[in-house]
Assembly symmetry: C2
C-alpha cells in the first residue's frame, strides 16, 4: 500500500493537534497506509520534502499531543494560486516520490481552497493516485456548512472564563469602572459573542453590527449610571457605520488581503474617556492567548477534533475520497451530539459564516437565548490535563527536532 | 462569647477568598466566635456597618468560594492614616457595637500597615477587647518575612502556562518573529520571573535590573539571528538606567503614591521595530486576567491560602493575638512544605521584597537554578474545578446580594 501525509495550515488553535493525533491513531487501528507522514509547515515544508514519520507514535505521545496547543507540525500562510502550474506539478512529484496516496490538510477557508485546488488539478490531469482531504480548524468558527469548527469551542471557553473572572475582579471596588475585553474575530463575531456564556457581559460589539457611536455611548452611560460599572466585549473586527474599523489607526494588511487588526479595545476605551462617560476604564486584549491557552480546552472540542481526524482517515480508505472536507452536523435531538459528514471543499473555500444577525440583541445588549443554546454545549467538560513540573506537559514541536 | 470579622483589601487574587473560607471553616470546627461577619469593601464598608453573616456557610459554598477569584467581600484602597483619630474611634465604636473581638484583614503591605496601626491605637488607648490580625495576599509576592504570599503562585502558574502556550504559537511559522509578554509587577519582578518556569523565555526584563537599551537590543538581535525568534518577558515596572519607567508614556498615579503602569510591552515592541531588529513583533499584556484567572489555580496556593485563614483563626483563640500577620515559612527539608508562623504586622508594613538580584542572570538571560528551585514547588498541582454550564462555578459576591 501507499502512505498518507498530514499537515497543518493557518493560525493555530488549542486542539488542532488532536486532529493529527486522530489520523495517526486511526491508522494504528486500521493500518491502511504503510506510513503516516507529518508535513512540516504545511505546503511550504511539503514542497521542501520536510517530513517526519508519525506512524508509530506511542499512546502516551498521542495523548499529550492532544493537549499540546498550536501546530506541532508547524504552519504556513502559503496561498496556492490556481495559475501556478509549476507548484502543482512539483507537489505531485513529491507525493509520487513518497508514494503518498492521501494528503490530509487541516486549516480554515484558505486551506479548504488549497484542498479544492489540488483535487481539481488532479482531476483535470487524470491523476488518480493522490487524494486531498480537508479537516476544518479555526478559532474564528467562520467556515460554512460545518455546524462549528474544531478550535472554536476551546477558545470560547477560555474567553467565557476570562470574562467571568475579570468581571468579578472589576466589581471588587465601589468606584466607577468600565472594562473592555477585546477578542479575536476579523469578520465574524463568534469569539466575542462567546464571552456572553459568562452571563456578565453588559454590552457586545460584533463585526456583524456597525457601531453607531452615539447609540453605543448612550448605552454605556445608562449602564454606568445604573450600576456604576459596565462590562464591554468588542471584536477586533468591529466597524463603525461608515465601514471603517474601530481599530483603524492600527490596522494593516497581512498579505492575504486580510486586514491585521488590534486595538479595538483601546479605541473603545478612549471613546469612553474622551466623552466623559467614566473616569476609569481598563482594557484586556486577549491577543494570542485566546487561541492557544490549552489548559482550558473544552472536552467536547478536543474529542471532536480527534474524532474528526479519525473520521477523515476512515473515509479515505475507500480509495476515492478527495476534494472533501469532513465537517460536523449537529443532531436534531434534545441532547447535544454531532454526526461527521463530508462536504465539497470547494464550497467551503473562501466563504465566511458570520454570527447570525437574528441572534444579536438590539443596542449592543448581547445575544439571544437561541445563541446561548447553540454555544453552551460546545464548551462543556474539561479533559484531565497532564502536568509536568507545574505546567501542562506538551509534545515538542516536530519542526524543532 | 464575642464575634469575629473578616474583610479583604487591596487588589484581588485568584485565591484570596480561600483565606475567608478558612476562617469560616475553622470557626465551624471550633465555634470560638458566635458569629463570623464578613465586612464588605474592607475598612470602607466596615465604617458603614456593611456586614454579612458567614457563620453558617455550607460546605458546598465554602468549596466553591475557594475557586472563586477576586474579593467576594469586595475590596477597597482606603489608606488608614495614623493621625486620623476620628476614623480609629469610629471603627472601635462599630467593633464594640457588633461585639467583634477579632478582625481578620487580608491584604498586601498597605493592609498590614492598617493592622499594625489599629493594634497600636488599641494598645495606646488600653483597648483590650479588640484584636487585629493580618493575612497576607498579593500576586506581587513582595511582602517581607513570609516565604511567599498566597495569590502569587496561582498567578505564576497562569503566567508560566500562558508563556508556554504562546511560545508554541509564536513558533509555528517559519517567519521571523519576536513576542513580548507583559506581566504585572510594579516594584518586584516575581511575576515576570515566574514565566521562566515555562522553560521558553529568551530574555527577561525585571524592575530589579535597569534596562540598558543597547545591551538589551543587542541580545534581541543575537537571539533573532540565531533562532529567527525571540521570546521576551517584561515586568510592567521595568525601568531604564536613568530611572524612568519603560512604560513612562502611559504611567500615572493611583492615589497611593504608586505609579499606575501599563504599556511596557508595547514600548519594548516599538523599540525593536524602530531599531530594525525584527519586522514582526507581537505583544500580549496579561493585564487583569493574570491575577484572577482561577481555572489555573495552583493547588499548593489555594490550600495554603485556606489553611492560613484557619491558622489565623486558631491563633486568635488565645485572646491575645493582635498586630500580627500569619505568614509562611518554607521548611528546610528536601521536599516542599511550609510552617505557618506569626510576624509583627508593623515589620511587614510598607516594605517591599524584590526579586533577589543574585537570582538574576546577566544580560537579561532569565533566572538562576536557585530561583527555579524556589518557584517550581509553588505552582504544582491543580484543584478539581467545579463547572456550571461550561464555566467555573462561583460564589456570587456578597456585596452584590
Amino acid at each position: 500500500m501507499g502512505n498518507c501525509l498530514v499537515a497543518q495550515s493557518g493560525g493555530p488553535t488549542s486542539v488542532i493537534n488532536a486532529t493529527v493525533a486522530g489520523v495517526v491513531k486511526a491508522n494504528q487501528m486500521n493500518p491502511y497506509y504503510d506510513k503516516v507522514y507529518g508535513g512540516l509547515n504545511g505546503i511550504e515544508g511539503i514542497l521542501n520534502e520536510r517530513f517526519v514519520d508519525l506512524t508509530n507514535m506511542s499512546d502516551e505521545e498521542n495523548l499529550i499531543l492532544r493537549q499540546t496547543p498550536s501546530s506541532a507540525l508547524g504552519s504556513c500562510r502559503f496561498k496556492l494560486k490556481r495559475d501556478n502550474v509549476e507548484t502543482f506539478k512539483k507537489l505531485i512529484e513529491i507525493l509520487d516520490k513518497y508514494n503518498i496516496e492521501t494528503m490530509f490538510y487541516t486549516g480554515g477557508n484558505d486551506s479548504m481552497d488549497t484542498v479544492a485546488a489540488l483535487s481539481e488539478y488532479a482531476k483535470a490531469n487524470n491523476i488518480t493516485n493522490h487524494r486531498f482531504v480537508g479537516c476544518p480548524k479555526t478559532v474564528d468558527n467562520d467556515l460554512i456548512l460545518t455546524d462549528h469548527c474544531p478550535g472554536f469551542a476551546s477558545a470560547a471557553k477560555f474567553i467565557a472564563t476570562t470574562a467571568l473572572h475579570t468581571w468579578l475582579d472589576v466589581n471588587v471596588y465601589t468606584r466607577q469602572e468600565v472594562f473592555v475585553l477585546e477578542t479575536m474575530g476579523r469578520d465574524a463575531g463568534w469569539l466575542a459573542a462567546s464571552a456572553c456564556l459568562s452571563g456578565c457581559v453588559d454590552l457586545l460589539i460584533l463585526p456583524e453590527v456597525p457601531l453607531d457611536k452615539e447609540v453605543f455611548l448612550n448605552e454605556v452611560r445608562k449602564c454606568v449610571e445604573e450600576t456604576n460599572k459596565c462590562y464591554i466585549v468588542v471584536s477586533e473586527g468591529a466597524k463603525f457605520t461608515d465601514g471603517t474599523y474601530v481599530a483603524a489607526g492600527e490596522s494593516k494588511n497581512d498579505g492575504f488581503g486580510h486586514a491585521q487588526l488590534g486595538g479595538a479595545g483601546n479605541a473603545i476605551k478612549n471613546m469612553i474617556l474622551e466623552n466623559g462617560i467614566s473616569e476609569r476604564c481598563k482594557v484586556q486584549d486577549l491577543a494570542t492567548a485566546q487561541r492557544c491557552f490549552a489548559s482550558e480546552q473544552s472536552l467536547v472540542d478536543v474529542t471532536e477534533s480527534f474524532q474528526l481526524g479519525m473520521s477523515a482517515h476512515m473515509r479515505s480508505t475507500d480509495g476515492k475520497f478527495t476534494g472533501k472536507m469532513v465537517g460536523l452536523v449537529r443532531k436534531d435531538i434534545p441532547t447535544y451530539d454531532v454526526d461527521f459528514e463530508a462536504f465539497d471543499a470547494v464550497e467551503v473555500a473562501n466563504q465566511v459564516k458570520g454570527f447570525p444577525t437574528e441572534w444579536i440583541l438590539p443596542n449592543y445588549k448581547g445575544i439571544s437565548e437561541d445563541a446561548i443554546k447553540y454555544l453552551k454545549p460546545l464548551i462543556v467538560g474539561s479533559p484531565t490535563v497532564i502536568y509536568k513540573d507545574g505546567v501542562p506537559a506538551y509534545v515538542k514541536p516536530y519542526f524543532m527536532r
